[in-house]
Subunit: 497 residues, 2 copies
């Protein structure tokens, strides 16, 4: 068992360094003075290089070999841990540390450039940064693909949504591409006659934050081990002991920041619910970004965008912003369920949202399979927007190809995790509400203990022990399906109101 | 030159990791959620261990040997750089990385305990933490002392104030111990008849911060490469590209936070004035904490506690807090120059302050020379306080032995740097004002360009190229003396008003 013990110690030290890296990236996005940007990029590159070199030392390979030889003595969680250790080693050993360093530096610089150039709508100035980042991402993907015996884009999917491939995602997304358009048409027809009152600002940031903190508290966010800040692009970053979420505020409206907080709180609850015993070990970490998004979207979409949730919110909101008719639960619910094709993915309604993701997925496939060039993206983007959502982004790259942080930050292959996570969320929640048919009465009262306890017991505490398919089957009795999501849309948007 | 080039690359990477460590420590003190404390301590310990192991790899020794062999071809700055590299290697190679890790973890946990236990006045609960930290510090000092052929406490002094030893500091401090008491008596006699109006709060934190930011701006603090926050204990941390200062606010009064900002801005200006060309190299770093304190104290004590500075401040303060008589330049200057023996070092006036430092220095000598035990400190503290300042701390350890962050954070040997820095500041400023006899007229108008340019040219840009004695001699024509400080006190407190 000595080899496995050595590996556990190695991965504990690596977890410390990865936590360090996360703090450096949180800091970069939230508090770092701008003039430190380039030096920060070099610094994190050096750190990532150290992490990589430490992981791929020759002794790691020897320990893995020895640990596998004696693995019959290991408990199931240790076996799963060993499997993840080997996977992490294999994914790293094929990448030269110099490439890791270059990729890190390039993508941090690229994201910094994006923050500046997006508001100026300067695609052609931004393109060289994106190209440098893409080239690194592709080289990494190609090297990992060789080891994993996959296509390069499948190697990326394997990182963010292990167990899924282009083949399986094509199948899932094709079902959505069939099911969603008629739903959208029917919903829009139904909503035509509904009246909406847009809330009138300004809504002070301090008051928005006060509501956000109450929302986090009601969802059992542990503030002793986490915090809320604001940043350019909302995110959740950290480890179970120190999990930090961000949102962004506008004084013109408060719903975006609030639902952003609900979403990121879902992410944070997953981390805070991971098994303490396995902290710092691969099997004790979050399973994948697809599973992570399932947790954020279960909270945001299934719970916090429900009519019951707005009944809970109404007094909180009216206490801060007054009692106007625009601030009633009914009106706010109608506002956030209004289905309209729109340019910006993160502001899209729940029903058109998957089409945004499918579009990015198709572009990424084209880029990595060699059918598309980055320089063509504004045109391709415009074409796909017209095709899927009937709107154009011609000449408006800031709300088109430049709208998301993912590509600038090198996270090619991430997008499908949103929609896979959305489907997983719907499937989990369907199972949960079958067991707790009166849960919406608890939501009305702002009581989420039943749900959080269920998520902790069935999902969070599983960490990386089971695959997505195994966990879904264990919890819901079947592998991933699109039906629970489609039925949820049908029910929330068409069945009554 | 290959060996020296390798060393430069190594130290560049180490500088990245040290910057990382600094961000982790800033984060720990300013934003980290409390529940992450223990894990953060382990994390920074791992990071410090990596830095240490990377520095003391066998190849470093070989490179140093080869670089020294070819050093005749090096320029003076490179020669000085090589000398610092060797010193850093020697100071590290004698410490087992496991001790480094243990020390880091122990002192971070100790500081976290101090933050909790100090307000509760719980010395006996705190003592075990402090003992663990002291034992690590002593072991490090003993190992370095052997290599340097010094006494252990001299090895610590060599870290914070290179060039100074117990022998030289004893001499300097004995001069102060003779000169200060009669000055204090005379000043207190003179001030007896002066009237003081204590400003009446509350003073909103937002307004205090607004004044602080203006003060920083006027002193040419570069906000593109730095920021201001608040923390438990004010500090300055970072690198030239990313320098962060903190202060602490109380609504009862605003002068502490404001002068804290002036002090830390002096530190920051030093970092921001370091030569960009030598960023990441040892010779391009700040020379020592003694020199660092000279820069903070020159700004705080010589400039910002002058009558002229309060003439500049008066409109800023009155704009935020109204026009009361208590807020006139005259009254505020009288307030901050009121000489009174007091318990808390950081709140002490300029004249009694060195006695606080001398007291800590004598205790540290006793601890490291084996004449004192930590458990005896409350009693020893009380005795020394009575002896030097005529006040007792019996039963009041929170304002006695537990008042400072230095020992909890493992920084034994740091205190003398404050008073050495204070003397250096006075000597530099005396030279400056001989060249710029009308500088106080610029201060009245909030114009500090002449001073900042002079500091940049003569001090900041020298970084670690010269020793303290060399730099003092170059700039002021002589080695360190106590006279400029004594004369400054005489002039500010006794000559007129």
């Amino acid at each position: 068992m000595k080899a496995y013990k050595n590996l556990k110690l190695l991965f504990k030290k690596l977890a410390h360094l990865q936590y360090t890296q996360k703090v450096m990236m949180w800091d970069e996005a939230v508090v770092m003075p701008e003039g430190a940007g380039a030096y920060r990029a070099s610094t994190v590159a050096t750190l990532d290089g150290f992490i990589q070199k430490t992981l791929i030392k020759k002794r790691t390979q020897a320990w893995l070999k020895d640990a596998k030889a004696e693995s019959s003595a290991l408990h199931p969680w240790d076996l799963a841990n060993l499997k993840w250790m080997e996977k992490k080693y294999q994914n790293a050993v094929c990448i030269p540390p110099s490439l890791t360093e270059k990729f890190t530096k390039t993508k941090i610089i690229c994201e910094q450039a994006w923050r500046k150039l997006r508001p100026q709508n300067k695609w052609s100035d931004f393109l060289p940064y994106l190209e440098a980042t893409f080239h690194c991402a592709r080289e990494v993907a190609e090297r990992q693909a060789q080891v994993l015996n996959l296509k390069p884009y499948d190697a990326l999917l394997d990182e963010y949504a292990p167990g899924f491939t282009q083949a399986s995602i094509d199948q899932i997304f094709s079902e959505l591409k069939v099911a969603l358009p008629p739903l959208i048409t029917a919903i829009r027809e139904k909503q035509k006659t509904e009246s909406l009152l847009p809330p009138q600002g300004p809504f002070s940031v301090a008051k928005q934050k006060a509501i956000g903190l109450q929302v986090m508290k009601s969802l059992a966010f542990d503030f002793n081990c986490g915090r809320l800040d604001s940043s350019h692009h909302p995110f959740c970053n950290g480890i179970p002991k120190d999990i930090r979420i961000t949102t962004r505020y506008s004084e013109n409206e408060f719903i975006t920041s609030l639902l952003g907080i609900c979403h990121e709180t879902g992410h944070a609850l997953y981390e805070q619910g991971l098994p303490a015993k396995w902290l710092s070990q691969p099997v004790g970490a979050i399973h994948s970004m697809a599973m992570h998004e399932s947790q954020s979207l279960l909270i945001e979409m299934q719970v916090c965008r429900s009519p019951a949730y707005f009944e809970f919110l109404q007094p909180l909101i009216q206490q801060e912003f007054g009692q106007g008719e625009a601030l009633t639960a009914d009106n706010l619910f109608r506002l956030i369920t209004r289905v309209t094709p729109s340019l910006i993915r993160v502001d899209a309604d729940e029903v058109t949202y998957p089409l945004h993701v499918i579009m990015r997925y198709e572009i990424e496939k084209g880029l990595f399979n060699g059918e598309l060039k980055l320089a063509e993206l504004p045109q391709v983007w415009d074409e796909l927007m017209r095709q899927y959502l009937g709107i154009s982004t011609q000449g408006n790259d800031k709300d088109g190809v430049m709208q998301d942080v993912h590509w600038p930050s090198g996270a090619f292959g991430y997008f499908p995790a949103y929609t896979l996570g959305r489907l997983i969320a719907a499937q989990f929640f369907e199972t949960f509400t079958k067991m707790e048919p009166h849960f919406s009465r608890e939501v009305q009262k702002g009581e989420f203990q039943t749900l959080v306890a269920w998520l902790r017991k069935h999902i969070h505490s599983s960490a990386s022990f089971l695959s997505t398919a195994e966990l879904l089957t264990l919890v819901t009795g079947r592998n991933l399906e699109t039906q629970p999501f489609i039925q949820h849309i049908q029910k929330r948007y068409l069945d009554k109101n």
